[in-house]
């Protein structure tokens, strides 16, 4: 790699609260690969696709503010949550294509001394790894091949749909046949599990108001992965992780099946293969027991 990659990291709320293992494994992977990360400590919540339901304009203002801080650094903003990616990209797209809206948003931002220009790209860490760092370069750095595991890739909606919005930042991933996560698993020498629900919804966003729907969607995906011999599932989205990792008991009851499936964050899987420490990978933070994966990977 000729020039060191340097990104502004938008952590999102989950990595700062319920999934500390996502942040620590992301930083560990970046460190191993020599990618420089500047955390956007000023960035607020993206609204998680809910705030926009209450007040779409306000959601645009707050997301634009986050992007301003990446622009100030002159860096590409990377996200480690599909929903952060979607909401930031939606605001960027709305402002870049609608000068009148951009002006209205900038009028508000001026009150706090900021201006949205539209100069920073926004991409998920998954695609930064694949498209900027390169799968072959990652493959070379693998010290702990994941060959012991059948790994079910779970893409999460907000990185792949709507495809028109994401195509410039996700390598033109086809939402009906996504391949990035499969190729990453393959580069880490794991065995990607092919199953129908890999590109489907986990139900996280209606966990509170439509619980049954939420449980059914999560259950369908996990049962499909299990029935296709998955030892574990991996996802680039901490919200998919929270839904699938935390609620396996209740989901199992709704679906009528016992579900025991460790659900890893994408950076945890990479960190495991690159030989990062047990503490950095943070499998102890999972509700569904996952700590055995570390020792099993080492043993293999």
């Amino acid at each position: 790699m000729s020039k060191q990659l340097h990104y502004a990291l938008f952590t999102g709320c989950t990595a700062k609260q319920s999934t500390p293992e996502l942040l620590s494994s992301t930083l560990a992977v970046a460190d191993k690969l020599g990618i420089k990360i500047t955390i956007l400590e000023e960035a607020s919540c993206c609204g998680a696709s809910h705030l926009q339901d209450f007040d779409e304009f306000l959601a645009h203002v707050l997301n634009a503010r986050n992007i301003c801080y990446a622009e100030k650094l002159g860096l590409t903003m990377i996200t480690i949550c599909n929903t952060c990616q979607l909401n930031s990209a939606m605001t960027k797209h709305a402002l870049d294509t609608n000068p009148e809206l951009k002006a209205r948003v900038n009028e508000k931002l001026a009150e706090v001394g900021l201006e949205y220009k539209g100069t920073s790209q926004i991409k998920h860490f998954l695609y930064a790894l694949i498209d900027d760092y390169g799968l072959e370069n990652i493959r070379e750095k693998v010290t702990t091949p994941l060959s012991a595991f059948n790994i079910a890739p779970f893409y999460g909606c907000h990185n792949i749909r709507p495809s028109e919005l994401h195509s410039s930042s996700n390598g033109g991933e086809n939402p009906y046949k996504p391949t990035s996560l499969d190729s990453l698993i393959d580069a880490l020498e794991g065995k990607p599990v092919d199953y129908n629900h890999k590109n489907k919804c986990c139900g996280f966003h209606v966990e509170l108001q439509a619980n049954h729907t939420s449980e059914v969607l999560a259950g369908n995906a996990m049962v499909d992965a299990i029935d296709n011999n998955a030892d574990l599932m991996v996802t680039p989205c901490p919200l998919c992780h929270l839904k699938m990792d935390t609620y396996q008991d209740s989901v199992g009851k709704v679906i009528g099946r016992d579900i025991e499936l460790p659900v890893l964050h994408m950076p945890q899987m990479v960190a495991l293969a690159l030989g990062c420490s047990e503490k950095e990978i943070g499998l102890n933070f999972h509700v569904q027991k996952a700590t055995h994966i570390f020792s099993e990977a080492k043993r293999a």
């Binding site: 999934t19 705030l51 909606c157 749909r161 009906y176 108001q209 939420s214």
Partner: protein, 334 residues
Amino acid sequence: MSETKAGQTRKVTIKAFRFNAETDYLPSYRSYTMEVGKDELILDLLNRIKWEHDGSFSYRRSCRHGICGACAIKVNGKATLACKQNAMELLDLFNNELVFEPSSTKRAVKDMIIDKSDFWEKHAAVKPYVVADVDPHPEHETKQSIEEFNKFLDSDLCIQCGACHYSCPALEANPDYLGPAALNAAYRFTVDTRDEATKERLKITAQSGSGVWDCVKCYECAEACPKEINPIEKITKLHNLQFEHKVAPNNVATRHAEGFLRGMKRYGYLDEADIVTYSEGYLGMYKHLKTAMKMMKSGKIHWHSGIPFINSIPKIKNLDEVKKLIKISQTHKL
């Protein structure tokens, strides 16, 4: 699979879902092999299955111009308007293996033909027409500005093909949900300046269990629509309109949307514990106790101060900016 005439045609095998609700207990998949030309549409392949292989193969078709919405099917799970979709594109995408299925296999009547009655019931439920006292003997036309017309122009392009409706996982899990097509229609008439049923229609879309709050935000509808309508964008607008017209009920779903601001004002981040307590109410919290205990045990809920939930959330830098922006930019209230 073979390619001939410099990539002009490809020999492929198509698997098609075959089922006759009157005679069959279970569906089956049958294979048809044919040379596919580079300009052929999926509709051409449906025709060729019927004309060249099996005259009993059934599917809906009519206009052949992307207007009537009859020929929507699924190809390898992808919602497809057969008369608009080039076959080569899908052969490239799916490595030359095509599987034709009806939009909803559960609702299959014969082969590609489905019973769409659920779609039409949902559609009718949102009053998909202009509600107005119309003068039977008008002396001038009803005028709309271009700006007013543009508000519903793209939502009006819906051809009721059902592609979004039968791609919606929320509907699959919850048959009461109105679904993206009906909600798009609700939006289309709600923002029409001639319409006088704004609140009435918005109330229909605000119902828990059937309305916009049951959307799972998967964006399948945006991807499925052959007319590029982006139904979920209209669903978001309906959410906003409910607050604007003060018909949003104060319930777990609306508090959940508005409640993001509570944490953001205090920390810049969402307060994960507070959003659950605030949305559910203290009585509703009991449902989450078991999960909370498990999350606490694994360290997902933090104990920085020795007491869970207290001082457990970091603050962003320049929090004052967020507070100020919320104050000066907020347009809706719950």
